[in-house]
Amino acid sequence: MSTVSWITVRGLFGRRRFLLLLPLPVLLVGLAVLSRGLGVDPTDWGPPVLVGLGLAVVLPVVALIVGTGVLGAEIDDGTVVHVLTTPLPRWQIVLPKLAVAAGVTAVSVAVPLFAAGLLADSVRLGVALAVAATIGALAYTALFVAASLLTRRPVLLGLVYVLIWEGLLSNVVSGTRVLSIQHYVIALADRLAPTNLLGTTVSVSVAMAMTTLVIVATTLLSIDRLRSFSVAGETS
């Protein structure tokens, strides 16, 4: 484990506010257990819990908080200078941070999604959701790390993407789903475990290609941005 990733992990877990991430996964499992326990039909509770809460809220929000936290917080309080002044190639700073962010997000989202998928249908659905959520975590965090290098308000920019683009627009104008990570994740999970619980209009091949493109492009963008990074003061 490189020093950069070690610093990043400590930066994430060393603060009490990281505990704020716990309620979301716990709520996801809690609702799944409650519905299963009361004998509700999985076709009734599956879509709101698995997609409505799991893939549409928990995954992007956790990825947003973690993804903007690994680099954005250091930029915010100015300590990123200490990392930047070391003779490290920029990719050796971006990649470990991205790996930590994606790993933390994947663990805190894939585990409850696996449990919820298991309760809803089968082990296969659980594994499919966990795998798809892990890929989605990588894509989302790569996007949000890039956002934290492009603007001083990465969280708000990320919220615009999550709330307005994915939340509002994808439901009204279905064509925008082609550019929505949430629908790539749904398509992948549905391909790995075909059930009637998940459904999207995006094809699997498009989802695979676009996810790869998003991950590679935003990572390269982050490395490039960090190469010419200027340390500015607090903006209003």
Binding site: S35, G52, L64, L156
Partner: protein, 293 residues
Amino acid sequence: MSEPTGVIHDIGYQRYTGPRLGRGHVFGALYLHGVRTAFGLGRSAKAKIFPWLVVGIVLMVAASVTAISSQLGEQIITYAQFADAMSWLVIFFVAVAAPELVSRDLRSGVLPLYFSRPLPHADYPLAKLLALVTALFLLLGAPQLLMFLGAAFSAAGMGAVWDELLDLLPGLLYAGLWAVVFASVGLLIASFTGKRAFAAGGIVAVFLMTTPIVGILSVLPSHTANQLSGIASPPTLVQGVGIWTMHDLLITDPDGPGVDLGPFGPLYALAAVALVAGCVALLLARYEKVAAR
């Protein structure tokens, strides 16, 4: 012991002899500053991007609704339904504005300066809350006014305009209810952290994670749980109060998938009042603690 030889020079310090403005003026100044902050007025262009993005989208929706309505000659969305349709944008606006209002002051540690004025501890959070309520009300009320003007100019005769006005007023009241509930919840969450990024994330997480709970409760086998499900989440709680008080204005399609409240309408209103009162009480308690530090 010798006599002291020092001399106190008069270097021209003067007492302030002008009028001293009291608590009311401090409150008014804080409130006005808060409303301007929510929209980024008087600040850099960067601070205006996100509030005005939301305002722009909301006004654009209202303008297109007005245009379509006047072309079709019938109302496609009532004034009250407009607030429901914009709920995600309202959440985003709260996530933008609430941290600007309170988190910056917490982070830069200027609260002792505020409380050294003739300003009781309760006034600071109340002025901020009132400012956020006003900003949200403007955000939801202005598009409704735009829709009203569009409908009024294409209406035939004064009678039709009067009917539109009677539709608009409950819609504005409903927008006020949205504003009060969302502002009190959002400001409370924002007041817990000095980091704007975390405050924004927390507000969105709280509002979004409660929505699926409603979805689950509404498919439970118990009929009572279905009818009470809306209480679990702020947007559906407000909607429940609206349906109870002005049913016809919110549910225009009698065969559509409406929300069934059963006999629990008053309970929804009570829950909304309790939610707002609880949030305000916690906010005041929070500022007692912050001010004491």
